[in-house]
């Protein structure tokens, strides 16, 4: 384990950012934190987590794929790949770090691999940060995630006087070696972990009962009449899907200015009326079907396809951001557990 005194953390950031782009969670000036490229003078946020998730750095909302230039009868195809830059992201929370595993299943391990995502994953080094002060909307522990010991290439703990770092992968250890940090005793981090786990134990949804959300009960869940009531107030906006660290659906669209055609992909939302629109129309004509799709995907379809792993990491962003406060916890409590 390595140690950096709190006063020196920005020197470490400066050193890292000389070599590759570094993102840290910083306040954006409007009561939210977000991952911003580190520049001198920037400070770490005091907020628990970023408004938008860390997913954005591996799977951006909009990504240019290629461009067609038309001149006369010639069409030129311009490759626009720009995901080649290596980068380090500091301060990823345990929930967001687990979301990468969920995205990996879809974009890396399902054939064919998504090469844009794959390159970004290969070029990104993840430094996680244990959660000193989980919020009431946090329920990562329900998915077996330990906020006191997040994964990633390097794990960091923030204490009053210092940051402690532990390398988890070859890539992480190599970076720590380069930084020439002082060796530290593991005991301090252990104390911090115990304090975090004591808070995590008190999280209201930390033991959310997900019994019955599985392949065996797929049709039963799908046909449950209570989806109508659960979805009645849903506005059909995309907030939950766009702040979600595990939502992975995208659309491929084109922007034609008459001379050039820009082909790009952008996040899509199952809450939208034209999501997966087909020639015959849509098989989710009302908000009830769209709403059901989102939660069935997280709690039933994804685990059915990927060995029982849920497509939610309990980050709580949808709990905080939904304009009408309807969310995955309310769905799970209504349709799951004893109510299954």
């Amino acid at each position: 384990m390595k140690k950096v005194f709190a006063a020196d953390i920005y020197k470490v950031f400066a050193k890292v950012s000389q070599k590759s782009k570094l993102y840290i969670p910083a306040d954006d000036g409007v009561s939210q934190a977000r991952f911003l490229p580190y520049m001198e003078g920037m400070t770490l946020t005091e907020k628990l987590n970023t408004g938008r998730s860390a997913k954005d750095l591996f799977f951006p909302q909009v990504e240019n794929l290629l461009k067609f230039k038309v001149s006369g009868k010639q069409i030129e195809i311009v490759d626009q790949r720009d995901e080649v830059e290596s980068f380090v992201i500091f301060g990823v929370r345990a929930c967001d770090c687990r979301s990468f595993d969920i995205l990996d299943n879809v974009f890396l391990y399902d054939e064919p691999a998504d090469t844009f995502y794959k390159t970004r994953r290969a070029n990104g080094l993840v430094i996680t940060l244990a959660c000193n002060a989980p919020e009431e909307t946090c329920f990562c522990t329900a998915f077996g995630i330990d906020p006191a010991d997040p994964a990633g290439d390097i794990t960091a703990w923030k204490m009053a006087d210092a940051f402690y770092f532990r390398g988890n992968t070859d890539k992480g250890n190599a970076l720590l070696a380069e930084l020439e940090l002082v060796e530290a005793d593991e005991e301090a981090a252990h104390q911090q972990q115990e304090a975090i786990r004591a808070i995590a134990e008190k999280l209201p949804f930390g033991k959310l009962d997900l019994t019955g959300f599985d392949k065996e009960h797929l049709m039963e869940k799908f046909k449950d009449p209570r989806w109508a009531e659960l979805s009645e107030s849903c506005l059909g906006c995309g907030t939950c899907t766009f702040v979600c660290p595990t939502c992975q659906c995208y659309d491929i669209r084109e922007f034609n200015n008459g001379k050039e055609i820009q082909r790009f992909r952008c996040w899509d939302s199952c809450m939208y009326s034209d999501f997966t629109m087909m020639a015959h129309g849509t098989n989710r004509p009302t908000q009830k079907e769209r709403f059901r799709q989102r939660f069935m995907h997280k709690l039933v379809y994804y685990p059915s396809n990927y060995g029982g792993v849920y497509g939610c990491v309990g980050c709580g962003r949808c709990l905080q951001k939904c304009p009408v406060h309807t969310n995955i916890v309310k769905v799970a409590k209504t349709l799951g557990g004893e109510n299954k």
Binding site: E136, T239, F264, K330
Partner: protein
């Protein structure tokens, strides 16, 4: 207030005035209320909730609800009632199928505001006179209600319910000195470059979740042009800076003179973009160019931008106000 509202909801259901009630359903915490429809005494007793967190404006749900069988009761706060009346004016709500209970309101609180004050991990809230007593994972805290108010309530324009079948609590008055245009005035005082930079900064955070549009009572098109693939401008994400601005400016123009300044757009924005400022700029300009006008305040007047009179200002007013060719 809460008990009176719940009792009224039960009374209206049981005496046959309505067959359902639109109100707010209790959530997992005290603060996360969800709009919901109630059809029985049991449901109301168990899950109906009214508190300083009943911020959601219920008016827009009535577009769909008033087209269903029977009559529905709804509880409207003053600002919600302006939205309701504006929708009535636009023939979007069937008035005879709605029973409106107006409720007096002293302002609504926001958990986002509370979190922003550094109080996190709030698991329970209790209203205690002028204060909110908060139970958090990190000990008990107290915050004055006045410090937890939504922006729209800090600058409340009216405590008057403008349309109702009956009132709970005493109806209030309009508040002329709400200071709601203070920030607009600051923006007006900026140079065009500064103002452009301000809006670029704000709008560049947009994630195109459409929450502002979907919650907006003035945005009641059956199919939004931005969702319609055949329109040629449908887009799920901003492909360029221009588009990012385009969406919000088009929306502000479309609701201009119909927007009641209910503030829902800013309340729901997950990126904290102060969208209400765009609308307030339009309202202020309309007041200046066409005379004081408050959308939704009555059933008779025509919104200035949907009306023509011979003394309307000419397009050249743009230049008189400093616009350049």
């Amino acid at each position: 207030m809460r008990e009176m509202i719940k009792a009224k909801a039960i009374e209206l259901l049981e005496n046959g005035t309505v067959n359902r009630v639109l109100g707010w359903k209790a959530g997992e915490f005290f603060y996360d209320l969800t709009p919901g429809i109630f059809t029985s005494r049991e449901e109301i007793e168990e899950t109906f909730e009214y508190s300083v967190f009943s911020a959601a404006n219920l008016s827009k749900y009535l577009i769909a609800e008033s087209r269903k069988e029977g009559k529905i009761a709804v509880f409207l706060k003053p600002c919600d009632s302006y939205s309701f009346q504006q929708l009535l004016k636009e023939h979007r709500i069937w008035r005879d199928r709605v029973y409106v209970v107006g409720i007096a309101c002293d302002g609504m609180c926001s958990m986002d505001v509370i979190r922003d004050k550094g109080i996190t991990g709030v698991t329970a809230v209790e209203e205690d006179g002028e204060n909110l007593k908060l139970t958090t994972l990190y000990g008990d805290k107290t915050i004055a209600k006045a410090d937890a108010l939504l922006e729209r309530c800090v600058h409340c324009k009216s405590r008057k319910v403008v349309v109702f079948d009956e009132m709970i609590g005493e109806n209030g008055e309009e508040i002329p000195d709400s200071h709601r245009f203070d920030m607009v005035e600051k923006l007006e005082a900026m140079t065009p470059e500064e103002r452009f930079a301000f809006w670029r900064g704000e709008l560049s955070r947009c994630i195109r979740c459409n929450a502002c549009r979907n919650v907006c009572p003035a945005c009641s098109c059956e199919k939004c042009v931005f969702d319609n693939d055949k329109s040629g401008i449908a887009q799920k994400a901003a492909a360029s800076d221009f588009e990012e601005n385009n969406f919000h400016i088009i929306r502000a123009f479309h609701v201009a003179s119909r927007c009641t300044d209910c503030g829902e757009c800013s309340r729901v924005c997950p990126q904290n973009i102060p969208l209400h400022l765009l609308n307030r700029k339009f309202i202020r300009d309309i007041n200046e160019l066409y005379g004081e006008y408050q959308a939704g305040s009555d059933m008779d007047t025509k919104p200035p931008l949907m009306n023509f009179t011979t003394d309307d200002c000419e397009p050249s007013v743009v230049y008189e106000r400093g616009g350049k060719v």
